[in-house]
Symmetry: none
Subunit: 210 residues, 4 copies
């Protein structure tokens, strides 16, 4: 039943299917046939809409990145002050809608692929860059520039590490414990930085932190 205006629907179905299949397989070793079947169409149609398997992968990666960006903006909108905004940025990484084994596993696969695939690399760099500048921008208001970069590096590494451990089911922590670990790292680093800046943390903020 050929219909008009199917393109966005088909493309979306394929992207979801791609993420699901990659997540299930735990690697990019999935066939176009698998993806197309899960999306309820023929491989020929999948190629019609994306041109190649690689493009499908990139679209799926872009989809994940875009969703992450949107979540970050949403979380940030509700946050007040730099410390809350930092927590919001972290929370966006562990949002319950995306911090599911299959999405995380899929994300990890793309992450790894970015080592050698220029397209994937470019997308990943956008994400990495945004995360870093978002963190630094807010950290900058709480500590000096050198510290801000150092802390941002630590936070980013921690997030990646927690992601990979989640993908491997090696993570015995739930979503809140996971986020808490990162927030706690921030608290400590900022506390240290604070002391180094002779600018003790506001106790009231500490009281509300996880």
């Amino acid at each position: 039943m050929p219909k008009i205006g199917m393109e966005p629907i088909r493309r979306n179905a394929l992207i979801e299917a791609t993420i699901d299949e990659i997540g299930k397989a735990g690697s990019l070793n999935v066939t176009v046939a698998q993806i197309a079947r899960r999306a309820g169409m023929s491989t020929a149609l999948a190629h019609h809409y994306f041109g190649s398997k690689d493009q499908m992968f990139l679209a799926a990666m872009r989809h994940i990145m875009t969703a992450f960006g949107a979540r970050t903006r949403a979380e940030l909108a509700a946050a007040r002050g730099p410390r809350e905004r930092l927590n919001a940025i972290i929370a966006a990484s562990f949002d319950e809608r995306e911090f599911r084994p299959e999405v995380v596993s899929s994300w990890l696969s793309f992450y790894v692929q970015a080592q050698n695939n220029p397209g994937a690399r470019r997308l990943l760099n956008v994400y990495t860059g945004r995360l870093h500048s978002n963190l630094v921008f807010n950290l900058r208001q709480l500590t000096n520039i050198a510290n801000a970069h150092a802390i941002a590096n630590g936070v980013a590494a921690l997030i990646d590490g927690l992601y990979i451990r989640q993908a491997l089911h090696n993570n015995r922590m739930d979503r809140f414990q996971t986020m808490g670990l990162v927030w706690d790292y921030l608290d400590l680093k900022l506390g240290q930085a604070g002391r180094m800046m002779k600018d003790p943390l506001d106790p009231s903020r500490l009281a509300t932190s996880p």
Copy 2:
């Protein structure tokens, strides 16, 4: 040039070649032919010595794990006291002989494969378990049991995160900065733990920490 006693030589050459090729490719998408060629032999011989591609991968993974274990023991032998031993354990992860892009990338690939491959999973669990118990054993002498586990989790996640960033060349830090980041995390957590235990850190020990 048929000689006797070639088996260990060939096996070793294949393992090195496997790690190199996987590292170069950034994934397990390498052919037996590539590996065999780099190791200077035919694919048939590679199969003769390892039986299957999978076994070759597992042997390479085991090789990396074994080397890591040996380094850990060596570092630990020179360490005095729990704090130094913790630093030693961390240092073993970032030893200059192994913390090279290709080895790290290869490690990451195995790490990812462990998601679904039982053999890889088993090997990884041994590594993960050892790292955790090594950390906890020494942390236990500096803080309570709950903290020890929590800190070990954080350290492990941090190491993983730094590894993945190293593999992606996203890590602008050198080996010492990388290690320093983890040591610093330990210092902070133990300092916090110390305060929480009303057991302030010994200033003399702090003086020797990196």
Copy 3:
């Protein structure tokens, strides 16, 4: 030249080609490439339609068995009385459309493969069982049950022996002499059985036997 409804055509072509190639080779040592080439398509398409070489072999065997079953039914439909039906069953085995060197040779290969291949074994057992019960059912009306089974065994062995000799071109007899040999065996056994039962054979029936 992609058309729709090709599946039955392709499958049939592959089955015929399989039988031809096996018959020509005299064993199952034929490659998928040979079969596919003879059937006028790529090996990939052959796999697309049958999944594996083994399935192709089984389909070919099933094809031969089915054809034999159909011939048996056709011959039986025209037969009157148990003695004629016995002859009909035997005639079905030596039908000129199938008692050709290549089909016989192919049949023999499957027969032999049934020794260790469960799928082939199952198919063969169906054939063997049907032949035996068909024979016994009609023999039962001419002699006692023990004799019926014994005679059926002899007839079946004789058919198999004549088949193998046909496959090896060791059989200097034509189709009618071959059938005659089995019919003659039946006559003798039933004559003997008749005498043993004090029930001499009806001379009129003998007159119509070949």
Copy 4:
């Protein structure tokens, strides 16, 4: 431990191993490595002694044929009169030392291979020819020449059929029932022939027949 005069021992071990492996596999799909391993030596040595896999197969086939010829002569030596000699010839085919599943299966494989392999064909023709002339020679003393050939054909087909059924475990009869079936066929054919020659069978002989 290289020894002199090993050649016949090695060759024999390889021949036995070949028969065993083929019998176990139910086809000629056995590797030189399997055979060599079972014979307790390297594949290189197997090639050294036989030159090629094909030659090993032919040697094994020749071995079976030779053993059969020897048994026939032995059985014949003890037989008195044409009828006993015919029974002796048949008995040689079902000798307990050789009528075992693996030998029979191996025999069948060679039999089948003779379809297209000239060497195997030549060997088989020798066997077939000897059996036929042995049978005809003795039958000739009990019936006319045409009958003699016809009966020899029937007996040979029956033996082949019983062999193949033995190889497939489709034969529910033991060795004596199997032989009895062929002897019985002979009795019937000779009885018929006798009647046709107005030369009734000697009742005393019948009394001793199985």
